[in-house]
Symmetry: C2
Subunit: 191 residues, 2 copies
């Protein structure tokens, strides 16, 4: 790498990427928090429900990997969701070493309710990307960003991401009718 770019160029480049990435993630994080707050979930909890829903059951290490969170974070928040009756822990016959989680009916329904409550109008990324459709004729695909993540995290990460998106499409849980969120505000087993 030294032969190709100077140290100063490298610092410029990585600092710019750090600023862009931090700004993007902070905007997404804030929108995500605002979206799921009425359901008494934090981002980690919602992300766990999401991954388990779309993978139709998942090991804790898969949650950690695809949720980009520490294994202990994945485990501890899964335990909290178990206490609320939203998921169950299990071992699999062919893989005794890993702990698996699977959503309960209540967990699936809660995740679907959050998806139905999603409001594109409140999403900074969508609002920011929309003017770019005039240039591209569609929402920008961020292909270089996808390529970079594939380089850093490996093919499998991107494959799981694509697969989890296909699963939403198949299950088709999103209706265009607004959901009555009042019924989810009080979780039966939540503390």
């Amino acid at each position: 790498m030294k032969d190709k770019i100077s140290k100063q160029e490298a610092i410029f480049y990585s600092h710019k990427m750090a600023q862009l990435s931090k700004a993007l993630w902070k905007a997404i994080e804030k929108d995500w928090q605002d979206w799921i707050k009425p359901f008494k979930l934090n981002i980690n909890e919602h992300h766990i429900l999401w991954i388990a829903y779309h993978l139709e059951g998942s090991s804790i290490s898969e949650i950690s990997k695809y949720g980009v969170m520490h294994v202990s974070t994945a485990f501890n928040f899964s335990k909290k969701l178990e206490k609320r009756g939203l998921l169950q822990f299990s071992k699999r016959e062919n893989d005794k070493r890993n702990t698996y989680i699977e959503l309960t009916k209540e967990g699936s329904e809660l995740l679907e309710a959050t998806l139905n409550e999603y409001s594109p109008e409140d999403n900074s990324v969508l609002r920011g990307a929309l003017p770019m459709t005039e240039m591209y004729g569609k929402l920008p695909e961020f292909l270089d960003l996808s390529a970079l993540i594939k380089e850093i995290y490996g093919n499998e990460y991107m494959e799981i991401l694509e697969r989890s998106l296909e699963n939403i499409e198949e299950k088709n849980p999103v209706n265009e009718e607004p959901t009555d969120i009042e019924s989810y505000k009080q979780q039966p087993k939540s503390s």
Copy 2:
């Protein structure tokens, strides 16, 4: 927005962006932590030093805005840096309402020392972007990502980013010689 994309498309799109953005930021965050750990700084502290260095003094609200951190976070970590003798607080004659910070000689030297210690080989983003130079003939510019951040955060955010990069270039603090970091490991006033 409703006329243009369905709710399901919107969820797909924003979920994909959330996954990519979280993955990118977590990789950058980890590299950043590893880079500055020998200097007994956390990311917020280093980011404050960086911004104050490149803006040649800055108000707390500028730190908050360009560092994408809460005002109280910017203030509290600036206070910690003040205790270590790395920056000074002041008011400006023409702007009594805002609190300004300016790096001390020790603060500037410490920031320069971290820049000199930066190792492109250890940076996931650079390592991930390098194979893409074969396609582009240069490091990918992530122009759609820059355009998106400009839409979300406004022109000023991007202008400050460009300006802070020009300032590194002018001050030219980076030499290609490795720095002796041992002398910075023990901060005189640190607890």
